[in-house]
Amino acid sequence: MFDLFLLATALAAALSIAALKAGRPAALAAQLAMFLYLAQQGRQHLVSMPYIGEVAVSLDFYKMPFAATSIALGLLVTLYASRYLEHIQAARWYYGVHALYVLSFVWIILFENLVFVFLALELSIITSFLLIWYFGYGDRRRVGLLYFIWAQVGSILFLVGVALSGHFVAEGFKAFGLASLLVLVGLLVKMGTAGAHFWLPYAHAEAPTPLSALLSPVHVGLMAYWIWRLREGAQWPLEVLYAYGLATAIYGSFLVFREVDIKRALADSTIANMGLLVAAAAVKHPLGYFALALLFVGHAFAKAAGFMLSGIYIVGLHTRRFDELRWDLKIFAIAVMTFVALSGVFGINLLGKIGVALGAPHSLSVVVLLIAALFTTALYSFYILNRIYKGGAGEVSVDGEMYISTLASAVLPYILMPVVLLWFL
């Protein structure tokens, strides 16, 4: 497996760097090469570093949905991006940085040493920062810096917490007091949950849309895996975390109603969904993991489809404002699938929400929060769908590749539902 990891890394990194010059074909090849990572089994020692101990990678059953979704979505977005990047006249090196960004996701999940997880987080921050800085919208440089600083604050708090704990390896991780708190706060800042969220709508809305499609659902969502993974050793008060997650979901949902711009609305909705993920990661029930994985995967594909749809509008109608959006049948089909999945009314998101609900502690106030959270997260999705519908019917010109990849992303939460159910049965 060591060889496989090295081979995948060498291929993916070399092709990503080649993509800086060669553009899309090399970026596609780089992301295809990343599937090699998924073929490895178990845990593999890479090297021992002084002080921070063993550096290993592993890919087990629990990591698989996160790693596989990241690569698959990265690939879909690469297919999608061509016409969009032409529209914003982006340079070819965009693809190379994009491929490195996707590579960072795989590493965030695969590494077992938390300092190396931090390193992977840094790669993800730098690559996404560059794409916002050079290809974002509006006041992109200010937003880029805002994003960079907050993402760094989250990562550094995580690192300091890990350093204080003295346990650098995920297995057998133990942290108390300040160390434990810093690790949690660092991860929550990176997720943009209530109280540490205000940078998120700016960054996710002003990023170039293909980046938003990864930044919003995958990048921030991966932190939930680490909350779940470290929760035992860090001894966080899980019931409080669960309630906080639900409160974030409600708060994030309400934020959506203030928006007049589809990308901003989708960015706010990410805050809500991160709340659900935090709640899922804090579920003590044995099904907690499944709730987390299903919500992550379902949200990733649905949210990416949402952002890809907004990209179709940007290219086709040159607008992001709700009141200027139009729909024809093929666009509306995507919108319905996207927002129904996002609402958690159907698709694997529904199964995820059920998992979260099953983990509710026996406390009336938390149950009220839970109901409110499940309801508001569904409500805002239908609100966005309604805003699109109210724009009225009209023709939207759409590029074939953009449409197919958006459609694929939108239907996946449904296709995966019978797969998951069959697997459970």
Partner: protein, 366 residues
């Protein structure tokens, strides 16, 4: 018999007759480095920036001598390394290592750099005097000898309270000459720290280090001229190094090494421009953002400070790293763009950063 006795005269004679001999300079440094690989691998690694320095100047009347200065300076470090038992050799080596690159400061013939050179020579004379006295006294009057040695090295590094010369000299000199002055003498001073290992009370080194970090960062945050910003950042890095010295002398050297290679390339870019990618890598190196070289020593400083000295010390180091971000972003904005850069340094910084396991354990064990 030490091969230097044969190689050095042969090289100097050859160099006198060949005015433009970058390859010869690089070959001499490489030969010395290869020779020492068996007995002193640290010296071999330290050859990297010296070889880079051979090619760092591309204009100015003195530019063809950059390699010669680098070779003399590297020979100086060699003497410091082999002269641990022979103080006179160590002292000679320190002078050679520090002064040779400085003589190229006025490479562009400007008055400011000439003024800078005189000021530097004055400081260098003070620092060398302390070093010689320290080496001489160490055997009979240990505490005083060690303190003088430490002060000599701290002065050369530009630590508080002996830091004003750095700002003064950097602020008036041409960036072309500073590419050498801001890098090689610093590495020499840090190497002396490792080889001569002055034993001073922990509190002294920590206090000088902590104050230098703070003063350097505050100075850089409030300076406008890019040369002054980089001068203060050198003061801050000297602080990081002296703070790290009590934890691990090797770590102190690694901190200065990363800063020095970065400074060499930054001043080179300030003089002649360079690509944005290169500038980004260099700034990341200075702040300590992975995966480049500068990240690893800072990470280990943070970890070691937290565990050995406590949470407060760790947070202080972290605060100082974070404080440097705004002014380095300013440096990134202000550096002149262009296509022709000094790519070698950026490549070295990235390559060493990508393979930390190849050198980290070993440098920490020094």
């Amino acid at each position: 018999m030490d091969p230097l006795i044969y190689i050095l005269p042969a090289y100097v004679v050859a160099r006198l007759y060949i005015p433009r001999a970058s390859l010869l300079d690089a070959a001499y440094i490489a030969a010395l480095a290869v020779w020492t690989a068996k007995t002193n691998i640290l010296l071999t690694l330290l050859a990297l920036p010296y070889i880079l320095a051979v090619f760092v100047l591309d204009r100015g009347r003195l530019a063809p001598y950059a390699g010669f200065a680098a070779a003399v300076s590297y020979t100086g470090i060699y003497l410091v390394a082999v002269g641990q038992e022979a103080p006179h050799l160590a002292a000679l080596g320190f002078v050679m290592a520090a002064a040779a690159p400085a003589t190229l400061l006025p490479v562009l013939d400007d008055e400011g750099s000439l003024g800078g050179l005189f000021r530097y020579l004055l400081i260098s004379a003070i620092s060398t005097s302390m070093l010689i006295s320290g080496l001489a006294l160490r055997g009979t009057w240990g505490d005083v000898g060690n303190m003088l040695l430490f002060l000599a090295i701290a002065t050369e590094l530009g630590a508080v309270p002996m830091y004003m010369w750095v700002v003064d000299v950097y602020g008036r000199s041409s960036p072309a000459g500073l590419a050498l002055l801001a890098s090689l003498p610093k590495i020499a001073a840090a190497a002396a720290l490792v080889y001569l290992r002055p034993a001073v009370p922990q509190a002294v080194s920590l206090a000088v280090g902590a104050l230098s970090m703070l003063v350097g960062n505050l100075g850089a945050l409030t300076s406008q001229d890019l040369r002054r910003v980089l001068a203060y950042s050198t003061v801050a890095h000297s602080g990081f190094a002296l703070f790290a010295y009590v934890l691990s002398p090797g770590l102190a050297l690694a901190l200065v090494f990363a800063d020095a290679v970065g400074k060499m390339a930054l001043f080179r870019q300030l003089d002649g421009g360079g690509s944005r990618w290169e500038a980004l890598l260099l700034v990341m190196n200075q702040i300590g953002i992975p995966p480049v070289l500068g990240f690893w020593p800072k990470l280990y400083l943070l970890l070691a400070a937290t565990h050995v000295l406590g949470t407060a010390a760790g947070l202080f180091v972290l605060a100082n790293i974070v404080m440097s971000v705004p002014y380095y972003i300013r440096v990134f904005h202000t550096l002149p763009g262009g296509v022709v850069g000094f790519l070698h340094a950026a490549v070295v910084i990235l390559a060493l950063g990508l393979v930390p396991f190849a050198w980290l354990s070993w440098i920490l064990s020094l």
